[in-house]
Amino acid sequence: MIEILALFFIVVGITFDLFGCIGLIRMPDIYTRLQAATKCVTLGTCGILFAVFVKFGLSPAGIKALLCIVFLMLTAPVSAHALARATHRSGVKLHEGAVCDKYAEDRSKNII
C-alpha cells in the first residue's frame, strides 16, 4: 500500500515536470517561459520528495525530504523573481503580443 502511494506521487511529479519542460520549450517569451518553468518546482519536484517521505516514513531520511520540500518552497520563488527582475533590467523586450508592462511604467515614473 505504501509502495503504491509513493508510486502515485512519483507519477504526479513526473507529469508536472514534463508539462513544465514542454512549457519551457513552447512559450514565446522569456517571462512566460519562466512562469511555465517554475511549475516544475512546486508540484513536480516537491511531489517526488513527498513520495520519498511516504516511502521512508518518520525516519531521518523522511525528515530530510520534508526539510528539502520546505527549502525548495522558500527559495524557488526568490530565485525566479531575481532572474525575472535582472532580465527586465538588462533590457530584454516582451513578446509583441504582450498587453501591458507595469514594471516599465513604474520605473519610468521613478516610483521604484
Binding site: A6, I10, V11, G13, I14, D17, L18, G20, C21, I22, L24, I25, R26, I30, R33, L34, A37, C40, V41, G44, T45, I48, L49, A51, V52, K55, F56, S59, P60, A61, K64, A65, L67, C68, F71, L72, T75, A76, V78, S79, A80, A82, L83, R85, A86, T87, R89, S90, V92
Partner: protein
C-alpha cells in the same frame, strides 16, 4: 508554418512516450526514470537554442531542480537514504548559483 512546428513537436513527444511505454522491455521503475530523462532533454534544448543569456540561466536552474527530483526517485527505488543528502546539497548550491547568475545578468558586481 506554425501548424508544421506544432505537428513536428507533438509527433516527437508522442513518439518518445509511445516508444518508452510500449517498445522497451524494462521494469516500470526504469520507464519512469526515462520519462524524467525526456525532461532533461527538453531543458537542454532550451539551454542550447536560448536567444538571450537569461534563457540559459533559467534552463540551468530548471536542470538543477530536475536533478533533485531524479535523486528523490533513486532514493525511493533503491531504498538507499543517502540520495536525499545529495538532493539537499544540490538544492543549496542551485539556489546560490541562480542568485549569482541573476546578479551577473543584471550587470552589477557582487558587492552591491
Amino acid at each position: 508554418m506554425r501548424f508544421v512546428r506544432w505537428f513536428v513537436g507533438f509527433l516527437f513527444l508522442a513518439g518518445m512516450v509511445y516508444f518508452i511505454f510500449s517498445y522497451l522491455k524494462v521494469s516500470p521503475q526504469v520507464k519512469l526514470m526515462l520519462y524524467l530523462l525526456i525532461c532533461f532533454l527538453l531543458s537542454l534544448v532550451r539551454l542550447f537554442k536560448g536567444p538571450t543569456p537569461a534563457d540559459r540561466a533559467i534552463a540551468t536552474d530548471i536542470f538543477g531542480i530536475l536533478v533533485i527530483g531524479f535523486c528523490g526517485i533513486l532514493a525511493v527505488f533503491t531504498g538507499k537514504n543517502w540520495y536525499v543528502d545529495i538532493a539537499i546539497a544540490w538544492a543549496l548550491q542551485s539556489f546560490i548559483g541562480a542568485l549569482a547568475l541573476a546578479k551577473f545578468i543584471e550587470g552589477k558586481n557582487f558587492d552591491d
